[in-house]
């Protein structure tokens, strides 16, 4: 079965079978990553451009590794822009790239909807590597893969996402994907970090971290963006750490083990304490490894659907 769409723009509306297909395909690439020679010729002759308009080390590296391990030719195009650029428009940039015969575009941008915008004007496959506060589908896919790897299933599991839900594309993609796969999703944070009416997406809302994790099998801890404090969304990192930080003390009150995840990069001892991040129930490094396999799966499925 091929994917029904030419692009991966987000997980909203993606059918369960297709998410399943990506996760299953990632399984076989995970196995490739354990081989001495971690390279397959699946995308030989394909040219992929990594179009990053927002700084990223982890995601870009992960995509680039995935692309190279599938034997694709890789071009990196990075410009760090915090606000919208003057000068060449995104449309012109994209059209220029297209004339260079690009097969696939991996794009990250500060503006929501940018990958969709590119998919409307380009012939190439477009993969969203994060668009503003909208979606980050490969992150959610690798999170789901990691959870499934540990629990053997997604259906019926209770996953709590804690942090700045309102500004998080990781949260939104996880909510869409996990709900489709039959998991129960909750979000937790002060009201300033939770979008109004988010219950309408079928998630439970908590404002008390202890209560939130009490019901959870998995806690996905979001990075607290230090720069967001200017928006007056919470008073200080100290206060956030005390009331929403995931610490060993908080987890010990539970009397049971709980799985810890984090999309990275982590702020040690802010949203997550070092002992929890490095603890035995943390899957944080596993997520990084699985990220390459998931991205290989996505690139492979889109690049070979014909």
């Amino acid at each position: 079965m091929p994917l029904s769409t030419k692009h991966l723009l987000g997980l909203e509306g993606m059918p369960k079978e297709e998410i399943q297909l990506i996760l299953d395909t990632a399984n076989s690439f995970r196995e490739v990553l354990d081989r001495p020679i971690k390279k397959v010729p699946a995308l030989q002759g394909k040219t992929i451009v990594n179009l990053f308009f927002e700084s990223s080390t982890r995601t870009r590296t992960s995509f680039e590794l995935a692309e190279r391990r599938l034997s694709a030719d890789v071009v990196n195009f990075s410009t760090d822009i915090s606000s919208v650029r003057k000068g060449e428009t995104l449309k012109d940039t994209a059209r220029n790239l297209e004339m260079m015969k690009i097969d696939m575009v991996v794009v990250r941008h500060v503006c929501a909807g940018t990958s969709r915008f590119l998919s409307n004007i380009l012939d190439a496959n477009v993969i969203n590597a994060g668009d503003g506060m909208h979606e980050h589908p490969t992150q959610a896919l690798l999170d789901m893969y990691t959870i499934r790897e540990k629990f053997g299933k997604l259906e019926g599991l209770n996953v709590c996402i804690i942090g700045d839900i309102g500004h998080s594309r990781v949260a939104l993609s996880n909510i869409f994907g996990l709900k489709t796969m039959g998991a129960n999703v909750s979000v937790c944070g002060p009201r300033t970090l939770i979008p109004k009416d988010i219950e309408q997406l079928g998630v439970k809302v908590f404002h008390d971290a202890d209560k939130a994790i009490n019901e959870a099998d998995v806690v996905n801890v979001l990075r607290i963006q230090l720069e967001r404090q200017g928006g007056n969304l919470f008073p200080s990192l100290r206060e956030y750490r005390r009331f929403f930080g995931i610490s060993k003390e908080r987890l010990e009150k539970l009397n049971r083990d709980i799985t810890i995840m984090h999309p990275g990069p982590i702020n040690r001892d802010v949203e997550i304490s070092a002992d929890v991040a490095d603890g035995e129930h943390s899957l944080i490094l596993q997520q990084v490894l699985n990220g390459v396999a998931i991205r290989m799966a996505v690139l492979f499925l889109l690049g070979t659907r014909g």
Partner: protein, 431 residues
């Protein structure tokens, strides 16, 4: 110009006429209204086949973009769009460059308008309330009014400070001119791109809460109650604001308001396409808000339909959603959308629709009354309520094509206008 309009369905709420009759226009004046009129020599005769003949429509919220942004629209293209859309008059907003904060700008705009289609479309400029619309110093409103400005506004932006708003209301009130407020508490909407709600959350677009509109209107109504000056809410879009204005009217305050066709025809669901032609300010709201403004239109809380015609060039809109400018064109779809969404759905009668496009806005701005009666100047909008058509932006006269209504099927359309001794019918000027 001698023109015989046969078999028009004349509707004029002012004279309470509602009948099929012929109208003979001689030298720009209505010479005779009656049955079976015969045409005098050298006159054009048009059989209207029961098309509606109404007092001339005015769009009191138009961005003509000139001076300063002629790549988006000019006085020439904007007036042609108005004529094609069925308007005999427009009010142009002051967010030009330079802003309309000097009498010379007012005069230039009015003069230029007289050269377009023989001046068939009257332009009534809205002067800036503060210098350069910066909210710091009062504009010379007396001089601007003397030159022809009919109201004052910093539209495009709100008059933010309560103290400044107080002085604007007092000063404009001195000469009996209304203040038109773009009601938006910008401290709540900064960086926003669409209405706050489940759709903005799902799309990850920075939100603009509806209450940003409501809180400014609530403050302004408090000022109006204290000062007594006339206050008009531009492009009102929320359920909360509609209720605030309804209450203010119950208290007999001089508060009026307008709604745009896009706010009664579309909701924020349309933004799911990330089409930048669904990005405007105020943003498209929720179904609940849409129903509230429709109720406001029905019960008379909302006095006026105005388009907030806001042209932007193709390339300006072909960018990331958050980077795109706010606004859509509206002059050439207003009558079609209003008939389709309000009259054919029995929300408004034709009389009520005509009031909201003609007599109400003219009254709010203190413009001369017009009516369809013998001896009066012929200032007419003629429209066909039954014709079914599809929006074809390529055929529009506006220089810009930024509309979310491309290819929309509509029922009802402007047929032509008569004003200042000329008629514009079927794309042709008759003189």
């Amino acid at each position: 110009m001698n023109l015989l309009l046969k078999n028009g369905h004349i509707i004029d709420p002012a004279t309470e006429i509602d009948a099929i009759a012929d109208i003979l226009v001689v030298d720009g004046k209505i010479e005779k209204i009656g049955q079976g009129l015969s045409s005098p020599k050298q006159s054009e005769t048009i059989d209207l086949n029961s098309k509606v003949v109404a007092p001339g429509f005015i769009d009191i919220h138009v961005h003509l973009r000139e001076p300063g942004f002629e790549h988006k629209e000019t006085i020439d293209s904007g007036c042609r769009a108005a004529a094609a859309g069925g308007f005999t008059a427009v009010c142009c907003m002051p967010n030009t460059n330079p802003a309309i904060d000097d009498a010379s700008v007012v005069r230039t705009i009015i003069e230029k308008g007289k050269n377009v289609l023989h001046g068939i479309v009257d332009i009534y400029p809205v002067g800036a309330a503060t210098m350069a619309r910066a909210g710091k110093e009062l504009s010379p409103m007396f001089e601007l009014a003397e030159a022809g400005a009919v109201a004052f506004s910093d539209d495009g932006a709100p008059i933010e400070s309560a103290e400044m708003m107080r002085r604007v209301l007092e000063y404009a009130g001195t000469i009996g001119k209304p203040v038109i407020q773009h009601a938006e508490d910008v401290s709540m909407t900064r960086g926003g791109a669409m209405n706050e709600g489940i759709v903005s959350t799902s799309l990850g677009l920075p939100p603009m809460p509806p209450i940003a509109e409501d809180v400014l209107i609530a403050r302004d109504i408090t000022l109006v109650e204290y000062l007594g000056s006339a206050y008009h809410v531009a492009h009102m879009s929320t359920a909360g604001a509609t209720e605030l204005v309804r209450q203010a009217k119950r208290r007999k305050l001089p508060v009026t308001c307008e709604v745009t066709p896009h706010h009664f025809a579309l909701t924020d669901e349309a933004v799911r396409s990330y089409d930048t032609n669904t990005k405007m300010n105020p943003p498209l709201r929720t179904q609940r808000d849409l129903e509230a403004v429709i109720e406001g239109l029905r019960d008379g809380t909302i006095d006026v339909i105005a388009t907030d015609h806001a042209p932007h060039s193709f390339d300006e809109k072909q960018v990331e959603f958050t980077a795109a400018p706010f606004g859509i064109i509206g002059l050439e779809t207003a009558i079609g959308l209003s008939l389709t969404k309000l009259v054919h759905t029995k929300i408004l009668t034709l009389q009520q629709l005509i009031e909201k496009f003609s007599s109400n806005p003219r009254r709010i701005l203190g413009l001369p009354k017009i009516s369809i009666a013998e001896g009066e100047s012929a200032n007419l909008t003629i429209f066909d309520t039954a014709v079914e058509w599809k929006v074809d932006l390529d055929k529009f006269k506006s220089r810009s094509k930024n509309s979310p209504f491309s290819n929309w099927p509509l029922k009802g359309k402007s047929f032509g206008i008569v004003n200042n001794g000329f008629a514009y019918i079927n794309d042709k000027i008759l003189s």
